[in-house]
């Protein structure tokens, strides 16, 4: 076969053009940096909201205008992710149409879950909003920390929406069969675990910044999430390794142009090392806060590169595999 197109891995105009006339595997080039940032922010936003509540850390870690810092980080991340998504559309002013095809499109599911999360979680914390020393929404009748019935109901709805927000980017990639590397439940699982680990680490960072001690249990949770992520990534790397399309993706990740970034930034520094540091931190109380901060930095970098490299190794296999005589 000729060596044009995806095999070269190049992204120049000539390759984009020649890809359309070559039988070779073809690299997807439509989703890249913007989508990686969007995926990361969405995972982080939904995850920080959930982690703050699961770890019972919404109170006592500071606030912005009365709203817990943890929730503010969550809202900012999701709003920024949504803004990047809209800006990346070919026709941003038509963004509202993304809500239409809820029947089959994961992007529509994501759009709805983003909206529901922002509205419901926003409503949940609204009574805590403090402007100029007064709390204008204090009388809304529910507790922003979800300790009463109405507050708990809002918290549950927001929590479910947050889980969808954390997961749907992976589902968008995993559902179609076009790109074998993406077409696996391992991809949404990786994104969910990565989002969870990043989010717990960010909440622990906020805890350290607020002068509160990180507990051994929190570090164990972080270590388990990192370990789960490592297993999910490795299992995906060792299954269906010869499938057309996926073989090229794996080659690029493990032996080709992304090898250094994938092995070091994602596998080692972004997953395995934080897992080790988290377990060490659980045992060593004196170094726990420092290790939590280090883990946070490593996981954020690793989570972003996991998503970016997943997008960049999205390779369509050839539309036809010629018989032996035609090769």
């Amino acid at each position: 076969m000729t060596s044009l197109g995806a095999a070269s891995g190049g992204g120049g105009p000539q390759n984009v053009f020649m890809d359309q006339f070559s039988l070779e595997a073809r690299t997807q080039r439509v989703w890249d940096l913007n989508h990686a940032v969007w995926f990361t922010l969405m995972g982080l936003g939904g995850g920080v909201f959930l982690a703050g509540r699961i770890l019972n850390l919404t109170e006592g870690l500071g606030s912005v205008l009365g709203i817990p810092t943890v929730d503010v980080v969550s809202f900012v991340a999701i709003a920024a992710g949504g803004a990047i998504l809209v800006a990346d559309l070919g026709r941003p002013l038509q963004f509202w149409r993304a809500f239409v095809n809820i029947r089959t499109s994961w992007i529509s599911w994501g759009a709805w879950s983003d909206l529901i999360f922002l509205v419901v979680a926003g409503l949940l914390v609204l009574p805590a909003l403090s402007l100029g020393g007064s709390a204008p929404f204090e009388g809304l009748g529910w507790d922003p920390h979800g300790t009463d019935g109405a507050g708990l109901a809002l918290e549950i709805v927001a929590g479910v929406a947050a889980v969808v927000v954390m997961t749907y980017a992976g589902a968008v990639l995993a559902r179609p069969r076009a790109i074998p590397y993406w077409n696996s439940p391992a991809v949404p699982l990786q994104f969910l675990l990565s989002s969870s680990a990043m989010s717990v680490a960010v909440v622990l960072f906020i805890e350290v910044a607020a002068g509160e001690p990180v507990s051994a249990g929190q570090m164990v949770l972080l270590g388990l999430l990192c370990s789960g992520l490592l297993v999910a990534v490795v299992v995906h790397l060792v299954t269906d390794v010869t499938a057309p399309g996926k073989a090229e993706s794996l080659d690029r990740l493990l032996r080709g142009r992304y090898r250094v970034r994938f092995v070091w930034l994602v596998l080692v520094d972004g997953t395995a090392l934080p897992a080790v540091l988290a377990f060490v931190g659980a045992a060593a109380s004196g170094a726990r806060d420092v290790l939590a901060v280090v883990c946070c930095g490593l996981l954020l970098v690793g989570g972003f590169w996991l998503r970016l490299l997943t997008l960049r190794v999205g390779i369509f296999p050839p539309v036809h595999i010629p018989s032996a005589a035609g090769r």
Partner: protein, 221 residues
């Protein structure tokens, strides 16, 4: 029920790319977009080396992953099986492009390098480029429609679809090797069904994707 489909006899293709150009002329597709290219690859070694050709286009799948992935509902499958892209409804998410195993969807990127609305065309903007901008929506996705406008015209005017040149996709009409046959896959007396009965069974591209394509092949290398 009518189900329009195309049979491509790859063994007949001579790689002239006339279909590619006819499609571009008919549909005035954006400059980077080729709805019906002919793929090429080499096989064998000198002195027995060969160039092989494979004409491709939208497969108009019965279980179309582009339709499933599209968040805006811009991509739809008509009752006659043709998958259409409504560029006015498209938001440019490009989810369809990552979902299609065949690379059949094309994003009309606004690169901002030409005065697209300026008339008449100047040296900074070619005539085809101006036509593309007039016919297609910037920031939206477009695709092969089996020349649905010609099919609809043929039906409205009592012409035989797949036979009369005004009621047949441009790539089929122009193919000098007659390697493309278009017609109703559900009609056992149609030209495609008769061709398949004679030359079949047919194959599809990327069978692993399980999309049930309406574009089928015989004579694949």
């Amino acid at each position: 029920m009518t189900r329009w489909g195309m049979v491509i006899d790859a063994a007949r293709c001579v790689g002239c790319q006339a279909c590619t150009v006819a499609c571009k002329t008919e549909n005035q597709s954006p400059l980077d977009a080729w709805y019906a290219p002919v793929l090429e690859w080499e096989s064998g070694e000198f002195p027995d080396a060969t160039l092989n050709y494979l004409p491709v286009l939208c497969n108009h799948c019965e279980d179309a992953p582009c339709v499933t992935a599209c968040p805006s509902g811009a991509l739809t499958r008509r009752d006659d099986g043709i998958v259409m892209a409504d560029e006015d409804v498209c938001i440019g998410s490009r989810a369809c492009m990552t979902a299609c195993p065949y690379g059949a969807l094309h994003f009309f990127e606004d690169r901002g390098t030409v005065a697209v609305d300026a008339a008449p065309a100047g040296p900074e903007q070619s005539v085809p480029e101006r036509y593309a901008h007039q016919r297609h929506v910037r920031g939206a996705v477009s695709k092969c429609t089996y020349c649905a406008h010609k099919i609809d015209f043929g039906i409205e005017n009592g012409l035989e679809v797949g036979i009369h040149p005004l009621a047949t996709p441009a790539c089929v009409v122009t193919c000098p090797a007659e390697c493309r046959i278009f017609g109703d896959l559900d009609d056992p007396d149609s030209n495609v069904s008769r061709y398949l009965a004679e030359r079949g069974p047919s194959e599809v591209l990327r069978p692993d994707a399980e999309t049930l394509p309406s574009t089928q092949y015989v004579g694949l290398p």
